[in-house]
Structure formats: structure tokens, C-alpha cells
Amino acid sequence: MANDVQHAAMPPASVPVIRTVALARAFALGGQVVRALGGVSLQIERGAFVAIVGASGSGKSTFMNLLGLLDHPTGGQLFVDGVDASHLDRDARARIRGAKVGFVFQGFNLLDRTSALENVELPMMYAGVGRAQRRTRAVAALQAMGLGDRLEHVPSQLSGGQQQRVAIARALVNRPSLLLADEPTGNLDSATTREVLALFVQLAVEQGITVILVTHEHDVAAVAQRVVEFRDGVVVHDGLPPPEWQPVVQAPWHAGRVA
């Protein structure tokens, strides 16, 4: 069982983590059909660090929800690790979500009154990991985030930066292919923002984890290798961050670029 998960998480490097073909999502709102996402085709390679930007209502959140399998598309196709995830039911989506996707949210979304350790154990509980192994891996994940001395602290006893690091530990503990971060630095001060973004860069570079970051801050988006901009449900820009955006932290791929 654990072996299967391992295999599923490690498809050939040539297979893109995300591939969408005319991916669309429409909502029925009071008898009217609102096209939140109108046919997006793109591909995200393994270990990439991609920023998704756009005004609110541009469709970037809808796109994120589709990539994270929280939502289902109404048109087009979505491949996660080469597997067609366009027409999966709720439970199948939940299973893939648990195994391949880690979420980091602006509001941290940790369970209240639940220790850091238990928060990090949560994804493994749903993945069917045994109790002892759960504990060992959760402790290791928190130690890797520099929270080895905060295991039994509940969210209200942790600073914003610490809470976000607990959330990142939780997102990574099932060894996902994809880390989806929705405005992860929105609630953090600039020092902590730099810290978290440096961590994301490190994950992408050293562990080959694909990071997709939704943000509206240019200096945060500029950290990424690639910026995808949404407007009115379609992609209007896909490429290097505009040169005038100053990244908050440096990444290897910034070398040689005009500062």
C-alpha cells in the first residue's frame, strides 16, 4: 500500500506534474452561467516554481482549486502526474489530493486547539499511515521546519510564521508532487515572508517539489521562475516575471537576470 503511494508519487521526470487542456469551469448562479475559467491550456514541469497572479475574480483561485482537486472542471482536461483527473468523483479526488497535493493557505488553516504534531499527522491519518509511523514522520517534518521544540503547541500559542511553517510541514508530510500555496505570505510580516519564500525555493531546488504560488504581490511573484497571469478567466501572460518586479528573495534561476 505504502509502496503504491510511493510509486504514484514518482512518475518519470519527463511527465509534467500538471497538464491542462482547455480547462474550463462554469458556475450556475441564479439561472445564469458564469464562466469562471474559460479554457486554460498549460503545462507545469516537475520542480518548477510558478507564480499565478491576477486580480480577484480573474479565475486564478478557480484554477488553483481545480489543480488541487478541490473542485471539478466543467470542460477540458486536467492531468496530474500524467493521470487524467478530469472526471473523477469526490472520493477519488480526495485520495489523489491526499497523496499528491499539499496546500498552504493565507489563513494557515490549522485545526484550532489541536497540537502542531496532530495537525501534521492529519494527512497521514486519512492516507492510512499507522500510528507510530505517523508520529515519527510528523516529528521529523516539524523538526525540518525548525519547530522541534513546538510539537505540543496549539496554533494560538504559535506566531504567524510558526503557524505557517506547521502548515507547510503538514502540506509536505505525505511527500506530494505538488505544493499549492494560496497567498501564503498574505498574513506574514516581511521577515517571515522572506523566510517562507526561501523555504519554497529550497523545496523546489533541492527536493524537486513543484511549487505553485498564488499571489497578488509583485515582489512575491517575482521569486518564481515563471509567472502566469489570469484575467477574466483566461491566461493573459505566461513567462518570466516582468523585469521591473523585484523578488523578495533570490533564487538560483535569478542568476544572470538583469536586476
Partner: protein
């Protein structure tokens, strides 16, 4: 997620909301406690009736003499004295479904011991009386055929009489006087308590029938007041009564269109009527208490629904890390069942205590039976499943995107 993990998580979440969990549980606790206490009360009444039936003596049939008739005016039943020892002996001989017969005569009288005295009923009967009524002595001995034949001056006291005349003193071997006849006390009967009719069965003195007839009252030695007859079993009571009626009619030379000049009574019929009342009582009390259990269940549902709304974000978070609908459904269901089962267990304890307090303060008999307790736990767990299912399903069907956005 394993059921054990689910249970652990559920209990932790319930502990986190101690006051609310306690209040939710309270509804079930009261419901189950009410059921347990009320059914204990009903069962107590039932067992009281059952023990009354047993205290009569099993399969007892009474033979009463008929009424006197003077110029068409009928006296009370039993006022005539047309039953004879011969009749009673014939019954024992000729009816195969009878196991024992005990003719009795009864007089009221004062029993005197030293300067103590007590008015009671004095029964004269044969040794068969003790078998028919299934009555043993607590101390001493009963009289036998020898005492009956010789009209020996002995008596056996009922517990009430013994208590009133002798107090803490041992009555065995002492001599009491009844109707100016000195009687040696040879035994004290074990207490039987109230009869089906509500009178004190222990307020009695037994002497051999011959002693009563020859020494204490005048008149015919042949006449018998009432006869107590034991049928061979509960199934043969009706047959025995039919045969007894035929024998007595024949011995009294009654024509086919004459009325019976005696009457036969099956005491169990009276007891059965009482038992039915007790059954109805149990069902009614149980039903009223059941309603409060239902209300408790609705309380659980209410709290679970509030909980689902309040914890929408938590549900979203759980879904985002891979929880399937089933996981969420089970989580809430296990919480509801844990709440109501806990309530059920507490309710049994409190109900049992309430029943025993009730018994002590009011004197009503109660009977706590484990079967009802087991049913109550099963019912409260099912209430958890039933009333927890809708909220749990609501939770499991939440849209993860919406749930995560919920504030």
C-alpha cells in the same frame, strides 16, 4: 481511518467542548434514567404480583360453601355451612387432577400470652394446609396427622402474632390461651406479607382442625368453612374445577337446573388481573420515559447540526488534506454515537439510583433488570446513529472549496 482512531478523535473533540457535550449528554442521560427508573418501578409491581401469586400457594382453588336462603332472601356467600369433611375427602379421592386438599374452619379470637393479648383469625386445618399454601415454618415445627387425630392443644403462630405477643422472646414451647384453651406454641410460620387482597397473611394462628372443632367452637364436627385445594399444575386448574363441581353437585343431590350451593374460586384469576394492571403500568411508564429519550435524541441531532455549521472550516481543512466523504461522515457519526452511548451508560447508573431512592422513600417495590439496561444502551446508541446520521451526511457532502472559504 480506523474506527479506533475515529473514536479517539471523537472523544478528544467532545472533551474540547466539555460544557456543550455535557448538556447534550444530559438529554440522553435523563431519558435513559427515566426509562430505567420507570421500568424498574413497573417491573417491581409485576414481581410483587408474581410473589403474591406464589404466596397463595401454587394452583390454589378455594371451595366456599353456598349462601343461606331464607324465604328467598339470600345471605352472603359462605354463610351457609353445607360443606362437610366428607365432601372434602370425596374431592381428594375422586378428582385425579387434585394434589392436596385442606379443609379449614376459621374463628376470630383473642390470643393471650402473659399480660399481652392480640386479636386475630384462628384457622383450624389439616397438615395438608401447609402443602397447599406452600407455607413453611421459620422456627419449630408444623403439626402432623397425630396432633390432628388427637385434637392436640398446639398451635403455629403467624409472624405478626408472634411479634406482637412475644417481641424478641422465643415463642416455641410457650403456652398461649385462645378462647380459654391453652395451646402450646410448636412453630412460627415464615412471613408471607400481603395477600392479593391486601390483608396481612401473617396475622393468623393455625391449630389442628379437630382442635378447633372439638375444643374451641361448638356445633357439628363435620362442617367445614372453606377448603383449600391444590391442583396438580397450572394447566389442570380448569379441569380440576370442572370435576370438583361435578363431584360436589352429586354429593349435594342437585338437579341439573339447580344452582350450585357452593362456589369454586381460582385465586390465580384475581392475581392475573392484577398482573395485567402491572403490565399496563410498565408499558405506560416506559412509553412516557421513552418520549423523554426521544427528546434527548433530538437534542443530540440539534447539537450535531450546530456543530457541523460551526466546524465547516474544520471539515474543509480535513477534506483538503485527503479526507473522503466517508471519513467525515464516520467522524460525526462516531461523535454522535459516543455522546449518546455515554449518556446511556450514565443514565443507567442514575436510573438505578433513582429507582432505589424511590423504593426507599415511597416503599414502592422496584426491580432493576439488566436486560432493560442492555436495551437502553442499545437504544441510545441507535439514537446516536439515527439522529447523528443527518448532520453527519450534511457534513460529508460539503463542498471543500466552500467549506474552506467558510469563516
Amino acid at each position: 481511518m480506523s474506527l479506533f482512531t475515529l473514536l479517539r478523535v471523537a472523544l478528544r473533540l467532545l472533551r474540547r467542548n466539555k460544557l456543550r457535550s455535557a448538556l447534550t449528554v444530559l438529554g440522553i442521560v435523563i431519558g435513559v434514567a427515566a426509562v430505567i427508573a420507570m421500568v424498574a418501578l413497573g417491573r417491581g409491581a409485576q414481581s410483587n404480583v408474581a410473589s403474591q401469586i406464589a404466596s397463595l400457594g401454587a394452583n390454589l382453588i378455594l371451595v366456599l360453601p353456598g349462601a343461606t336462603q331464607t324465604a328467598g332472601v339470600k345471605g352472603a356467600q359462605g354463610s351457609s355451612s353445607n360443606l362437610t369433611r366428607g365432601d372434602i375427602a370425596a374431592l381428594g379421592r375422586e378428582v385425579p387432577t387434585i394434589s392436596a386438599v385442606a379443609p379449614t374452619n376459621r374463628v376470630s379470637g383473642q390470643i393471650v400470652y402473659g399480660d399481652a393479648n392480640w386479636s386475630t383469625s384462628i384457622f383450624g386445618s389439616t397438615p395438608a394446609y401447609f402443602d397447599v399454601r406452600q407455607w413453611k415454618v421459620a422456627r419449630g415445627a408444623t403439626f402432623g396427622d397425630g396432633e390432628e387425630l388427637t385434637a392436640a392443644k398446639v398451635c403455629v403462630l403467624g409472624q405478626t402474632v408472634a411479634d406482637n405477643l412475644f417481641g424478641d422472646q422465643d415463642p416455641i414451647g410457650q403456652t398461649v390461651r385462645a378462647r380459654n384453651v391453652p395451646l402450646r406454641v410448636i412453630g412460627v410460620l415464615e412471613p408471607k406479607g400481603q395477600s392479593v387482597m391486601g390483608n396481612d397473611q401473617d396475622d393468623t394462628v393455625l391449630v389442628p382442625l379437630a382442635t378447633l372443632q372439638q375444643r374451641m367452637i361448638g356445633g357439628s364436627r363435620e362442617t367445614v368453612g372453606t377448603a383449600l385445594v391444590a391442583a396438580t399444575g397450572p394447566d389442570t386448574i380448569d379441569a380440576a374445577m370442572a370435576d370438583m363441581r361435578a363431584v360436589l353437585r352429586q354429593r349435594h343431590h342437585l338437579q341439573p337446573d339447580d344452582d350450585d350451593d357452593f362456589s369454586l374460586r381460582n385465586m390465580q384469576d384475581i392475581a392475573k388481573a392484577n398482573a395485567e394492571v402491572a403490565d399496563v403500568l410498565t408499558v405506560l411508564l416506559g412509553a412516557v420515559a421513552g418520549v423523554s429519550l426521544l427528546v434527548g435524541g433530538i437534542g443530540v441531532m440539534n447539537i450535531m447540526l450546530v456543530s457541523v455549521t460551526e466546524r465547516t472550516r474544520e471539515i474543509g481543512i480535513r477534506m483538503s488534506v485527503g479526507a473522503r466523504s466517508r471519513d467525515i461522515l464516520l467522524q460525526f457519526l462516531v461523535e454522535a454515537v459516543a455522546l449518546s452511548t455515554l449518556g446511556g451508560a450514565l443514565g443507567i447508573g442514575i436510573g438505578a439510583i433513582a429507582a432505589s431512592v424511590l423504593q426507599r422513600t415511597t416503599g414502592w417495590p422496584t426491580l432493576f433488570d439488566p436486560q432493560t439496561a442492555a436495551v437502553a444502551v442499545a437504544v441510545s446508541a441507535s439514537i446516536g446513529v439515527f439522529f447523528g446520521f443527518y448532520p453527519a451526511r450534511t457534513a460529508s457532502r460539503l463542498d471543500p472549496v466552500e467549506a474552506l472559504r467558510h469563516e
